[in-house]
Amino acid sequence: MTTAIIGKPLSRVDGRQKVTGQATYAAEFDQPNQAYAAVVRSTVAAGRIASIETAESEQAPGIIAVLTHHNAPKLAYAPHKGFTDPVVGERLHVLQDDRVNHQGQPVALVVADTLEQAGHAATLVRVTYAPETGTTDVTRVEPVLPTQQKTDQGSTQPPETRRGDHEKALAGAEVNVDETYVIPRENHNPIEMHATIAAWEGDHLTLWDKSQWVHGVADEIGAVFGIPAENIHVVSPFVGGAFGSALRTWPHVTLAALGARAAGRPVKLMLSRREMYYGVGYRPHTVQRVALGASRDGRLTAILHDGYEETSNYEEFSEALLSASQFLHSCPNVFTRHRIAPMNVHTPTYMRAPGEASGVFALEAAMDELAVALNIDPVELRLRNEPEQDEFKNLPFSSRSTRECYRLAAGRFGWDRRSPEPRSMRDGRLLIGWGMATATYPMNFAPASAMARLLPDGTAEVASAASDMGPGTWTSMTQVAAEALGLPIEQVKFSLGDSRLPKTPPHGGSMTMASVGSAVQAACRKAREDALARGGANDLAAAMRRIGQAVEATADSAPGDASKRFSMHSFGAVFTEVAVDPDLGETRVRRIVGAYGAGRIVNPKTARSQCVGGMIGGIGMALMEHSIVDARNGRVPNANFAEYAVPVHADAPPVMDVIFAEEHDPHVNPLGVKGLGEIAMVGVAPAITNAIFHATGKRIRELPVTPDKLL
């Protein structure tokens, strides 16, 4: 029986909670007798703490404890590598010694009766430093090869890859493009600031935490404190955005637990907006050289993509910066090299479409430059280089709808009315530009578990420790469960965000529906089959009445060997129209049309929200976002929403169009989904900068394209 609930544009099941203020985020689980913590952070990027004076702070009203490396307990910090941790290096240890590795590193923790008292007393801790010469200027650091590199599938690959002979092909190419593209550091900046409430009962700890991975938090804090992860209960039902910032368990979670232990009371710690720039990761500054060689008729003969990105000097962060260049376009000679630039900064992390957002920007900007050099339409250039298979892996694509995406998006956009010459389209005094880019992101699928429990009254409870930072996991999983159970959606209650529920992978990499959804579907099917068999009926309601007690099933999902037989990715095409003021240099995005081949769409309503959200994120990346890093000391002078510009209502294009190409991919996972959250961000920034070139004739290769760069 199928009820065809998957594919329906349903409103969110948690919508009422969110519009009435009843959805409860990490800092909102107030505990009896709760105290408040505030963090004191280093004002140098490198060196040692020479002295730390806490007497005045300790005497301030309401102070319960002031912790520094002098009096904080020595923590176990047992070896632990979570899926979201860099493969090489060791996490930052807090309040364990006098070393300072980066600006804004925690050096003391103040716990007080009230928020105001904690915040004030934190200003009374006097710290002096023996500073050392740190590395904080990304333009002067010499990039090095990483020890290992993570691929988009989470495994490792050498930092250099090659097929064919790119050097010979570049030297012999009829047409060449060879340019360098720079993307500055960007911060996730979810509107909810990271927060943790920690409460101990003996050696059991409860953490109400902003997290994209509750089991990751339990595992990490267990290792840090040397207690079994099972003793740690992590609760995180609602996450106020994260975009990757809550994938790892950052030092402030340890600090909250330390504070609660020192105070002997539950402790709440919410970071300030400024602190959000010094301890929850960021998209690293990247520098990428892309060299393309092509024949006059527009066939790629060589791709060189050589990129490096900043990381800390205690962990080697790396992301799939160059992966797309290995397979997105057909090319016989391809070389990629990935390097890192270790500095006295805190470790960067995955930010929406990690790797692809940055790497595809460089590749697709270079492709646009090649189209101009060849005098070929940018869409036509891509069609001429459409691969028959993944030429890097030598595998067929499980599905690839690039041609369909170009056709759908170009048609909706009206691309055939484009006048190819730069500065040839105007609206009054404004310069109009049309640009496009290709998008791609891997289909990720990791093992997950779920539980389904049918009740005698004919309803069902379904649960998995998944997260919902905004895409609509609460709703889409309820749909998957209802369809698998053959029940109306109102009779299914789905739960997530609790480490006592069945394990899931991190809520990132666009893998939640593939992974958790497949487990939910399997658990529900199993429970339904069990109930029908035990109840001896074809009708589930009748069977459950007859059984008279709950029927429960758990199931695991895990990828099979499909990745050995297929290359599995989402693909898309993004078209934009910009208007550039020739006197003010201001760029406004007027229209965005995106078409995506992302497999099955579980809920077109929430899927559209994800896609327009990714487009807005891409506008920020292209035109606004830049965490300025003071080269002298690693300080971020614009660590707030007034000076770190993000798109606001007035920046949203009047026209935003999202098209889903019809795709049936039986290979990727049981649900046939390929993920949406990341690909929605990919391709937007290059489509905008390509449109800016078309409008102005100016090629800006360093983001963001602020007005000064166009004047």
Binding site: V19, T20, E28, L124, P190, G241, G470, F641, A642, V648
Partner: protein, 204 residues
């Protein structure tokens, strides 16, 4: 600007005139210089205040530094009003004060006495959602939901102010409320829907 749009600067000016014991209190610990902190006087004695929130009088004893947002969230446990920056830059804390939108993180609780404060928790009439709340669900005008209470309170005010006449006008007058998930397109549509409802019933 009306007197209800209280900024931190106005608050400080106002307290100087009123002689409320706030001098030397560190209102912005993040931006306090070391020298200023050294000069800081001990915190003033707690204040007994009465806040009128969603039609109910609430008696509180508060540190005079307590913002209206923290009074709501930390003391009254009305956590629908969100903290996204504490600096008046994101709008997640937007509440209505005597019907006008204010950023509650920039308002001191002590100075909200005598004002009628409406938070997201007080917007629905028991089970019946406010038309803008219903429109937010229908239009999927959010993802994570964290900026949503502020967007809705600002949207209610935007409509009441007569600033919801066109999508362009809404975008301008809602630009103080950031949405990092990027739901702007849908928020504007929801406000248009609710504005149409309120004009069809003759205002409100």
């Amino acid at each position: 600007m009306t007197s209800y749009d209280v900024t931190r600067r106005e608050l400080l000016a106002g307290t100087a005139v009123a002689g409320v014991a706030l001098a030397g209190v560190n209102l912005m610990p993040e931006f306090t210089s070391l020298a200023a902190a050294q000069d800081a006087a001990p915190a003033a004695a707690p204040l007994d205040i009465v806040l009128r929130v969603n039609g109910t009088e609430q008696r509180l004893t508060l540190d005079p530094r307590t913002t209206l947002l923290d009074a709501l969230r930390e003391h009254l446990h009305l956590t629908g009003s969100k903290k996204g920056c504490g600096l008046g830059q994101c709008g997640a804390c937007t509440v209505l004060m005597d019907g006008k939108r204010v950023k509650s993180c920039l308002s001191l609780a002590a100075l909200a006495e005598g004002r009628e404060i409406t938070t997201i928790e007080g917007l629905a009439q028991s089970e019946e959602l406010h038309p803008l709340q219903a429109a937010f669900i229908e239009r999927d005008a959010f993802q994570c939901g964290y900026c949503t209470p502020g967007q809705i309170m600002a949207g209610v005010a935007c409509i009441a102010e007569g600033h919801a006449g066109s999508p362009q006008e809404i975008r301008q007058w809602m630009s103080g409320n950031l949405c990092r998930c990027g739901a702007y397109d849908h928020i504007v549509a929801a406000i248009q829907d609710a504005a149409a409802v309120s004009s069809s019933v003759g205002g409100g």
